[in-house]
């Protein structure tokens, strides 16, 4: 072995040790770094890891119930079976949906839409968020799905909280409904909030269980019913998917919404709506003693349950395009000419103005000439000499043409407002309208024309421009029946204060009111009264007092008057007059006031009065006005709290 070669060998060994030494240094450096991370800084990194994976997720509040005056639930939260799929856990979504459709009803169109939703979720990198396949499962469906869900990947069957309206269409117009918050809803709910609260609202309403009041009392009392969202501590992975729950901080729990009591008697409401037997119309029953609205009926009605999980376009179109307008809240949003039911207001105006005495007679020849025009009485041969009592009892138009002309439009308008006409009574609902009490100032402003005295004559019999709602007519009746005592109409028994709805306390002379009551009693209980047949409540004693009315849907032409065509089968149904009836009962000790309108019912006495009679009889029989289950004290001390989330 040469020395040179040995040199190379030595060099190699030397360098080997050099490299081993360098490697040892690197090794020690790496170990030192691990020591730093895992020993010296371990606590800090453990804290960071905890903070990383513990997330506070939104816990939606349970929405408060809506109950009737006796505590019967009208809107409540119900646990219902729900099937959802988690896109990221499915290899073949179409296959999974097909298998689900073997177990529960899942139409082809719905399946296609779901597949699209799943594709979108994947595209948005949100494939861990559940996509809802079906809700409101029946018990059988739910148990079937529960049994088979384990065999399918990515299928989740659970109970979820949904809004439910156990009385369906009975309260559609009063309660409205809830729905998933739309962008518009969010804008409305978050205006004026601090940016941080706006973010919380947006997060809260994204939750699949969260709904917001879209219409009616649900919308009006949104803050009262909603409650405050809480936070749940969960472990979530890097993609934000919650993995499991941690122990919860009670201070962070969601605060459920408050229950809302309304003054309506759900049984009376049901009887009233049934009594219409499918006719279009409205009825409002008010407790004369305290102004509680006991029934608020508008028919036909819709079932709010259909809106909770989003109504389909075709179902909504069906409701919207229905010629009988089931979405139209007639009781508080329907504006009709009151017809002869308005005559007590005109009589009150004339007596207050002193332009006539109750015993003064006015002769009715069946028509009334003013200027160069002729106004007709409903009774063509005429009533003959009429005093006030008989004029109300027989609803003589000529008498009221005359006293309206004498009292003047301004006086009638003023008295109308004292009875609550022209005011929008919200009472916690949406869609309320105020109607119109016409006067010269209004006409000048709206039409740019002066008031013609001839219009005062129409005003005198409740026709013309005058527009009233069934709710206003019931209030008018209640004030008469209460002999002019103040009335505070209300429908929210225990809930948020309604500042819009004022006390109806403009002074009315009790003596005049007694005369009106006598007239209304005559209508139903004296010979010649227009609703003589409907005066007996069928309860073996108490009677009702009322007033009929007919609201013209179209002007009667001279030709028609000449040929005697005034209604019946001779003209199309939608052109026939509306039948109205206002009443109170018992006649001798008034407790309940009612107004009824039957659209295209033609004669107040023939169609509206029996409806009113039966509803009043039911109210008396069931004692609907008895003390409600929410206490008055609670009502007075309840502070208006808002549902602002913390």
């Amino acid at each position: 072995m040469s020395r040179k070669n040995k040199n190379a060998d030595e060099m190699f060994d030397r360098r080997m040790f050099l490299a081993a030494g360098a490697g040892g240094l690197v090794w020690a450096g790496l170990v030192a770094r691990f020591f730093q991370l895992q020993f010296l800084d371990a606590e800090r990194y453990q804290g960071l890891a905890e903070a990383n994976h513990v997330k506070l997720v939104m816990a939606p509040p349970e929405r408060g119930q809506i109950l009737d005056r006796f505590g019967r639930p009208l809107a409540s939260q119900r646990q219902a079976g729900r099937v959802s799929v988690i896109p990221e856990q499915m290899k073949n979504p179409a296959d999974v949906l097909n298998r689900i459709s073997d177990l529960i009803s899942l139409p082809e169109a719905r399946r296609e839409r779901l597949l699209e939703d799943i594709r979108n979720a994947r595209r948005r990198n949100a494939a861990f968020l559940p996509v809802i396949v079906a809700q409101e499962l029946t018990f059988e469906e739910f148990s079937r799905m529960q049994v088979h869900a384990v065999e399918m990947e990515g299928v989740d069957v659970q109970m979820a909280s949904t809004r439910s309206y156990p009385r369906g269409r009975d309260f559609g117009h009063v309660l409205g409904y809830v729905a998933r918050a739309s962008g518009e809803d969010l804008d409305r709910l978050t205006t004026g909030l601090a940016p941080e609260d706006q973010r919380i609202y947006q997060e809260m309403f994204r939750h699949p269980d969260m709904r917001t009041g879209r219409q009616g009392m649900e919308r009006f009392a949104e803050d009262w019913l909603r409650g405050r969202p809480g936070r749940r501590r969960v472990v979530a992975n890097a993609h934000g998917r919650p993995l499991w729950e941690l122990t919860q901080d009670p201070k962070q729990a969601a605060v459920p919404g408050k229950d809302l009591y309304i003054t309506i008697d759900a049984e009376l409401q049901r009887i009233a709506i049934d009594r219409f037997e499918g006719e279009s119309g409205a009825a409002v029953v008010i407790d004369i003693e305290n102004g509680d609205v006991l029934a608020m009926v508008s028919t036909p009605a819709f079932d709010p349950n259909g809106f909770v999980n989003g109504i389909s376009g075709s179902d909504y179109a069906l409701l919207r395009d229905d010629p009988r307008s089931p979405l139209y809240p007639r009781a508080h949003g329907g504006v009709y000419p009151p017809g002869s039911t308005f005559k007590m207001v005109v009589a009150t105006a004339a007596l207050e103005a002193g332009v006539i005495k109750p015993e003064d007679h006015i002769r009715c020849p069946g028509h009334y000439r003013f200027g160069n025009r002729t106004w007709h009485c409903w009774k063509r041969p005429g009533h003959g000499a009429m005093n006030m009592h008989n004029a109300i009892k027989q609803s003589c138009d000529v008498y009221f043409y005359e006293i309206a002309r004498r009292a003047g439009v301004e006086k009638i308008a003023e008295v109308s407002r004292k009875f609550g006409f022209g005011h929008t009574w919200v009472l916690g609902m949406t869609g309320a309208r105020g109607g119109l009490v016409p006067d010269p100032a209004w006409k000048q402003k709206a039409r740019g024309e002066p008031w013609f005295e001839g219009e005062t004559l129409n005003f005198g019999i409740g026709q013309g421009q005058l527009g009233t709602t069934p709710l206003q007519l019931a209030l008018m009746t209640a004030r008469i029946a209460a002999t002019g005592a103040p009335i505070r109409p209300r429908m929210i028994g225990l809930g948020p204060n309604d500042e819009d709805d004022a006390l109806l306390d403009e002074p009315l002379d009790p003596a005049i009111m007694e005369r009106m009551k006598a007239g209304m009693f005559g209508v139903t209980s004296e010979g010649g009264g227009t609703a003589y047949r409907s005066g007996d409540l069928g309860l073996g004693g108490p009677r009702l007092a009322g007033k009929t009315g007919t609201a013209q849907v179209r002007r009667i032409t001279t030709a028609e008057r000449a040929t005697g065509v005034r209604g019946g089968d001779a003209i199309a149904r939608e052109l026939r007059d509306h039948a109205l009836f206002v009443a109170y009962a018992p006649a001798d000790n008034p407790k309940y006031a009612i107004s009824v309108i039957v659209e295209h019912g033609e004669g107040g006495s023939r169609t509206a009065a029996p409806v009113a009679r039966d509803i009043l009889a039911a109210a008396i029989r069931m004692n609907s006005g008895r003390a409600p289950s929410f206490s008055r004290r609670a009502d007075n001390t309840a502070t208006p709290e808002t549902g602002d989330p913390a």
Binding site: D13, R15, A19, L30, R33, Q38, F39, Y45, Q46, N52
Partner: protein, 412 residues
């Protein structure tokens, strides 16, 4: 002759064994007896590390909610095991290959690799912004992985001739040829671009030149020059995305930011995972960061974070020790080789594995910028596992045939 007290044996003693071994080698039962002579302790360590890799892949696939591996990740650990089985077979075959065969294949293999790299440059398919894959008859291959082995064997072959002819510590001019052998494929890989592999190629190549005896009077100035050239490389050579990584790394080193946002998210989450492991770890399948997917690429380049979180400092040091054991054993094996080819092949292959490990670990614990570099034996990835096992096959072969003298003259 005994000049090596440390290793406990001398080259002389080794040579005395040669005659009898050579006789056995010629026999019919040669292959079996050679298998018996393989260093099974070392192979056991490799197997244990690969099985640890599979266990860690099982952990990354674990779904902590359903208490079972999530279906779309369940294949990871199975694939790893299957690939390890295949690579293990390859390693044994390579280990039994005589040095003569290696030497004969060295330059043709090198040329083929260069051709493949050129083909990648021309026809390769893109993946992750880089052109690394080549489709050969339906199989996707990554020629840059072959390059690691090819350069090692070619360099060893080159020096076998160069050192045997001079029979001395070679002069400076000999190493220029070696540098050319390294730089041609390295430049092609860099062009893909694949910074991590380029670094590994150049580093292990340079280590071989170092072991081949390049004078310290040249090495030290070159290192100094290299350090001085860093800013220029940063400004003119690096691609923007590579520069960004360096920036991120530097800001992480200086600012010590744990904001969890932006470019440094991955490295921050990795550090949190490692740190959260503490001394003894959170326990298998119990890691917070690992089980909840907070560390991106945790089944490939960042699999160390899972080990460190679930088995803690103890697990990390055990892993480092396993690598150290393999390296030290390889160096000892190199010193026992008679041929320069065997020595340098071991040095090249071992340093390739060592650089993989060092770069990967340093990157994961935030000591180096993030470059794509798997953790040998453990990271998921078929090509990388195959390369590493093939490297070890070369080491085992050189060890097994340490007494072959390889009297080759000329380059071919």
């Amino acid at each position: 002759m005994s000049r090596d007290g440390f290793t406990g044996f001398t080259r002389g003693e080794a040579r005395t064994r040669t005659a009898s071994d050579s006789l056995q080698f010629a026999g019919a039962g040669g292959a079996l007896s050679q298998i018996a002579r393989l260093p099974w302790g070392v192979i056991l360590v490799i197997t244990a590390m690969s099985l640890t890799g599979a266990a860690m892949l099982f952990s990354t696939a674990w779904d902590p909610v359903n208490q079972m591996p999530s279906p779309h990740e369940a294949d990871l650990w199975r694939n790893h095991l299957i690939r390890f089985g295949i690579a293990f077979g390859l390693m044994i075959v390579l280990a039994l290959t005589p040095l003569k065969v290696w030497a004969a294949l060295a330059f043709p293999g090198y040329l083929a690799t260069v051709v493949l790299l050129i083909l990648v440059d021309q026809f390769g398919s893109m993946g992750g912004g880089a052109q690394r894959w080549l489709n050969i008859g339906g199989v996707l291959v990554q020629p840059s992985e072959f390059a690691k082995l090819a350069i090692t064997i070619a360099l060893a072959r080159y020096y076998q001739t160069a050192l045997n002819t001079t029979n001395n510590v070679p002069g400076f001019q000999v190493h220029i040829g070696a540098l050319v052998i390294i730089l041609i494929p390295a430049a092609l890989v860099f062009k893909q671009p694949d910074l991590g592999t380029t670094l590994a190629l150049v580093c292990s190549g340079c280590v071989m030149i170092f072991f081949a005896g390049l004078s310290m009077r040249i090495i030290l100035p070159v290192i100094a020059l290299g350090i001085a050239a860093v800013p220029a490389v940063y400004l003119f050579v690096l691609e923007p995305y590579q520069r960004e990584r360096v920036d991120t790394f530097l800001s992480g080193l200086t600012g010590n930011a744990t904001n969890g946002l932006g470019e440094s998210y991955q490295i921050e989450q990795a550090k949190i995972a490692i740190g959260a492991g503490g001394l003894s770890g959170r326990g298998y399948l119990q890691g917070i960061q690992s089980q909840q997917d907070y560390v991106p690429e945790q089944h490939t380049d960042f699999i160390l974070t899972v080990i460190a979180e679930e088995f803690g400092f103890i697990g990390a040091v055990a892993l480092l020790s396993a690598f150290a054991f393999l390296l030290v054993w390889s160096f000892l094996a190199a010193m026992r080789c008679r041929s320069w080819f065997g020595r340098l092949a071991i040095c090249g292959a071992a340093s390739t594995i060592a650089f993989f490990a060092i770069f990967n670990i340093s990157m994961v614990i935030g000591l180096l910028p993030v470059v794509g570099m798997p953790l040998p034996f453990i990271s998921y990835g078929g090509t990388a596992l195959l390369t590493v096992m093939a490297c070890f096959g070369v080491i085992l072969s050189a060890h097994l045939h340490r007494d072959e003298k390889l009297n080759i003259r000329g380059l071919f």
